[in-house]
């Protein structure tokens, strides 16, 4: 971590982000030239950007394999398998949402280039959140992502629900960013550095001298700020309203990409600076996890709007992922199973949740939003393939084998039992039951109710591609999880070993 200035070699480390930004800016420029019926070229451009960025990211795998984790920009960026894994996850989520968006935004009559460039900017933000190991980089990444999302959530300008959701998201989001920044400032105040490696070394030194109120304060404030982003109880209130109001494509995007990115940031922080203080936060995380599972699962039972229902269910999924982190942080050594569980769960969650929202998106047509449970009635007669896909996504979200969701939950339980958290395991396991109940309410509407609506949903080729990919991952990661487990093991980010030893 020498104090040399800009090193041109470092540039390749941020090439994926640079490419995305350039394509995002390019879309803003070319959007003016396109007639309304050619607006889909914006989506093609965005997909190209994602493709190039993905290719560059894939190329980074070599240098990492050769020289291990690469630090860049005076030690403020870290390019490691963890970053590659999450970077690909963000890009995959972005690509899927772009595929789902074209027809949807045409129906909404809000098909503008800004939509796609904002998505690319949000992806850039997420990648910096994951790659940064400097508080400033992480915070800027987070804000880039969040601001893009505030705008995207309110993209349906003529829809009051969309506006309301966006405003709520903005106000509460700004507040939580403030709390997070406050936590960061305490960390800076204690250590005199924004670099996580320096901060970690200092926190390790402090951990030797017993309970430290400042450390606890910084952990709590940072956690509170991040809990908002991942929509964990008690910072979840925005989620149902934003999910309901935002365009469904953006709902899918927020629920998956924003959440995974915030988890990546959370893992980075909790496994570096806060790692030495873990006795003081495992209980906090466990409590938040149980509260999230309880509230998410119980509140979802009574919802009649699919987007709200999935919002509450995603709160409960957050609880499961947090339990994986709790297991990882139990004991003197890091529990690798717990970290694997978190990675696998987030991976599976990204695909199955986008898939579930994709069905709602497919239902959208002129004059029907398609987000009410009643809108699903008799889907099996109108579109058997959509009904079967819906069933698979619901099984996976509920955690019934042989689906990806089951293997993810299985790993969470495994890590909990391995680390002796029997009561948490019992909680986690029993909450599958209400989950199955509400997910199968959706299935029952699609499979067992008579249809009141003769119109067959039309699936565009792009949407069909997105559905194929999501269902493929949801099923294959359940039937033959081995390659995906290996991927999760590859992506592990282990806590820093004490510097100078």
């Amino acid at each position: 971590m020498q104090s040399h200035l800009f090193n041109p070699v470092d540039f390749r480390l941020i090439l994926p982000e640079v490419q995305l930004s350039l394509f995002g800016l390019g879309i803003l420029l070319t959007d003016f030239l396109l007639e309304p019926r050619y607006k889909y070229w914006n989506a093609v451009m965005a997909m190209l950007g994602v493709g190039f960025s993905g290719y560059t990211l894939w190329q980074l795998r070599r240098p990492i394999a050769d020289q291990g984790d690469i630090y860049g920009f005076s030690g403020s960026l870290l390019v490691d398998p963890f970053f590659l894994f999450f970077g690909f996850l963000f890009l995959a989520a972005t690509a899927l949402v772009i595929l789902l968006s074209v027809r949807y935004m045409e129906i909404e009559a809000e098909h503008h280039g800004e939509y796609y460039s904002l998505m690319l900017f949000a992806t850039v933000g997420m990648m910096f959140m994951t790659a940064g190991i400097d508080l400033i980089v992480q915070f800027i990444g987070l804000e880039t992502m969040a601001i893009s999302f505030y705008i995207l959530a309110g993209f349906l300008r003529d829809d009051r629900r969309s506006n309301e959701g966006a405003l709520k998201y903005l106000l509460l989001g700004a507040f939580s960013s403030g709390i997070l920044a406050y936590g960061f400032s305490i960390m800076y105040g204690m250590t005199g550095s924004t670099n996580l490696r320096v901060i970690t070394a200092e926190f390790i030194r402090r951990a030797g001298s017993g309970m430290d109120l400042l450390v606890v304060l910084s952990v709590t404030t940072v956690a509170a700020g991040l809990f908002f982003k991942i929509a964990a109880v008690p910072f979840h209130q925005w989620a149902p309203d934003v999910y309901e109001g935002a365009p469904t494509t953006i709902t899918a995007y927020i629920s998956v990409a924003s959440k995974t990115a915030s988890f990546a940031l959370l893992l980075r922080l909790f496994q570096t600076a806060f790692w030495p203080a873990r006795p003081s936060w495992t209980l906090l995380l466990a409590g938040v996890a149980v509260a999230s599972m309880t509230l998410g699962n119980l509140a979802a039972i009574t919802q009649s709007n699919i987007k709200r229902l999935l919002a509450y269910s995603s709160i409960s999924h957050v609880g499961y992922v947090l339990l994986g982190l709790v297991a990882a942080a139990t004991g003197p050594q890091v529990n690798v199973t717990g970290l694997k569980a978190v990675a696998f769960y987030l991976f599976a969650y990204a695909f199955m949740n986008i898939g579930a929202f994709a069905i709602v998106i497919v239902l959208r047509r002129q004059g029907l939003i398609g987000d009410d449970l009643e809108d699903l009635n008799g889907l099996i007669q109108r579109s058997p393939s959509a009904a079967v896909l819906l069933l698979i996504f619901m099984l996976s979200l509920a955690g019934v084998p042989p689906t990806a969701g089951f293997v993810g939950k299985y790993y969470i339980f495994l890590s909990l039992i391995e680390t002796g958290h029997y009561y948490l395991a019992i909680f986690a396991v029993l909450y599958i039951i209400p989950a199955v109940y509400y997910y199968f309410r959706i299935v029952a509407h699609a499979w067992m109710r008579e249809s009141t609506d003769p119109v067959r949903p039309v699936i565009s080729p792009a949407q069909a591609l997105a559905l194929t990919v999501t269902v493929f991952v949801s099923l294959v990661a359940g039937l033959y999880p081995e390659p995906f487990v290996r991927l999760a093991s590859y992506s592990l980010f282990l806590p820093f070993t004490p510097v100078g030893r």
Partner: protein
């Protein structure tokens, strides 16, 4: 042929799945093609399971016809199939009842035919997988996979309250199985702790490893697994899903539910719960006490509730609670007689109750009601139906020379060795069983035809005969000459009893006269047995069920 021989279990397991995949490619409008396809694969599923009769060697210890492939090496889960005598009988029962219930659906299912046969075949694969899996992970996957098609069979093709019944069935069963998942993980970690980091889900290995664990751990495990199986069986007080599910399900669904699905619970008790039982006499007795009490309550309560039913299907559903109570009573007597009787009775229950549901289905297809009061004097318009129904009723209530008698007698004989009071309760259950079944028969079949709608009901047609006659023949055969079935059970039952009730065999030799030998009886165990129990590995090595050829 070699391939077929080496992979016979996989072939039996996946034949129905192939059928359901083929069904995907036939357009839904072509309903008869789906019916033919479903039946072809139902019967084919039974036919490919027939070679098992010759290839399975009943005198070999341990599991046979094993297939073992890598599946998820990173957690140690493998694709392992294998059967012993107990699972052999249950596999045969499943393929037979599957073929029969698919045949029985020909005219009963008129809506959404494609999905029906597709899901039914999928269900077959799920159930067979449960009986064949020798890997806990695989077992759990099949155990859950099978819930989904059953949920749809009840929820889509059921009667009025089908949505409620379907989700109730799903949630109840799921509640038990997720707790079992924790139990499985506990055994899994226990093993890796013992071996220093080797992970496996191999069922025989894991069950054998438990013998080195403390009784407290084993007691916890037992109750962890208990919920999954007790709900499935179902034992009182976990039985409330069953009347709803049975009553609302279509006929074929009820047949499979009663005939096979409930057996998964008792199978689980035999395969997992018994070997997990604690070694210490006191801890074991406590468990046996609870299990026997619940079994007896199930027997008596189920029978009494039957008396009060107005709906035929509900009556037969509650009779299942009572009959399955016999099976669990026999199991937890922990004697060879009780165990083999229990397995035989499971097969019998599949045959008799399966047939009873078919019989109700026959009436329901003609009259679209299941209320007992709607019928009466049916023996006049439907003579051959009356004959079949009579034989099945007698078989179900335990008439000598029919199958039910063999099972119940053997169970009671096994229970009697241990405790005479338990056996007495069982006998009361048999008497009550005779009462409600005969009373039902009397109300439906005898007397004058009071309801004009019943006057010209057609008798059994050829297809209905084809579904019922095989079951009647089986009932007669088992009743007259059950020895072949017992031959399959001798070896596995002995292995289990040697393990869970190590005092049984030596005590039997020491004190020959039966009256004075409540051998291995909880509470009456001689001091020598107690001593053996404390040091199972010293003088009486506990046999490892891990022997796999």
């Amino acid at each position: 042929m070699d391939f077929f021989h080496n992979h016979i279990l996989s072939v039996v397991l996946f034949t129905p799945l192939v059928g359901s995949l083929l069904a995907l490619f036939i357009p839904r409008e072509n309903e008869n093609a789906h019916r033919v396809l479903g039946n072809v694969f139902g019967i084919l599923g039974f036919l490919v399971s027939l070679p098992l009769i010759w290839w399975f060697n009943p005198s070999t210890k341990g599991f046979q016809l094993i297939e073992n492939l890598d599946w998820i090496p990173s957690i140690g889960a493998r694709y392992t199939l294998g059967i012993d005598g107990i699972s052999f009988l249950l596999v045969m029962l499943t393929t037979l009842l599957g073929a029969i219930s698919i045949l029985s659906s020909w005219s009963a299912i008129q809506a959404r035919v494609k999905e029906y046969y597709l899901l039914f075949l999928l269900l077959q694969t799920g159930m067979l997988g449960v009986f064949m899996s020798l890997d806990f992970f695989l077992f759990y996957v099949f155990w859950e996979v099978m819930l989904v098609p059953m949920y749809f069979l009840i929820g889509v093709w059921g009667s009025e309250r089908r949505l409620y019944a379907a989700i109730k069935f799903f949630l109840y069963t799921l509640a038990g199985s997720v707790v079992m998942l924790l139990g499985i993980l506990a055994v899994y970690f226990n093993y890796s702790k013992l071996t220093g980091g080797t992970y496996t889900f191999d069922i025989p290995t894991l069950l054998a490893s438990v013998s080195q664990s403390s009784d407290a751990f084993r007691t916890w495990l037992f109750w962890g697994f208990f919920f999954a199986f007790a709900i499935k069986v179902p034992m009182f007080p976990f039985h409330t899903w069953l009347p709803d599910a049975h009553t609302e399900a279509p006929t074929a669904g009820s047949v499979i539910l009663a005939g096979v699905l409930l057996k998964m619970g008792t199978y689980g008790f035999i395969r997992f719960s018994l070997p997990l039982m604690p070694q210490g006499v006191v801890a074991r007795q406590r468990i046996v006490g609870v299990m026997v009490a619940l079994s007896i309550i199930s027997i008596i309560y189920g029978a009494l509730v039957c008396m009060m039913q107005k709906d035929m299907k509900k009556l037969i559903a509650y009779s299942s609670v009572s009959h399955l109570g016999f099976c669990t009573l026999g199991l937890f007597a922990l004697t060879p007689m009780g165990l083999s009787g229990s397995v035989i009775q499971q097969i019998n229950h599949g045959i008799s109750t399966g047939a009873l549901f078919l019989i109700v289905g026959v009436l329901y297809e003609r009259r679209h009601t299941r209320l007992i009061s709607e019928f009466g004097g049916l023996s006049t318009p439907m003579p051959s139906f009356a004959a079949v129904y009579m034989i099945i009723t007698l078989s179900s209530l335990g008439m000598p020379l029919l199958n039910g008698f063999i099972g119940e007698f053997t169970i009671l004989r096994g229970v009697f060795e241990v405790n005479k009071t338990w056996a007495a309760w069982g006998v009361i259950g048999i008497i009550l069983g005779a009462a409600y079944l005969l009373w039902l028969y009397q109300r439906v079949m005898f007397g004058p035809v009071t309801n004009p709608a019943n006057e010209h009901l057609p008798d059994l047609n050829l297809r209905e005969q084809a579904t019922l006659v095989p079951l009647v023949l089986l009932a007669l055969w088992i009743g007259v000459y059950p020895k072949p079935l017992f031959r399959y059970l001798d070896v596995p039952v002995r292995q289990i009893v040697e393990r869970v009730n190590p005092g049984y065999y030596p005590a039997e030799r020491a004190t020959a006269p039966l009256e004075s030998a409540p051998a291995g009886a909880p509470g009456a165990a001689p001091a020598a047995v107690l001593e053996l129990d404390k040091h199972p590995t010293d003088s009486h090595p506990s046999p490892s069920p891990a022997e796999k050829e």
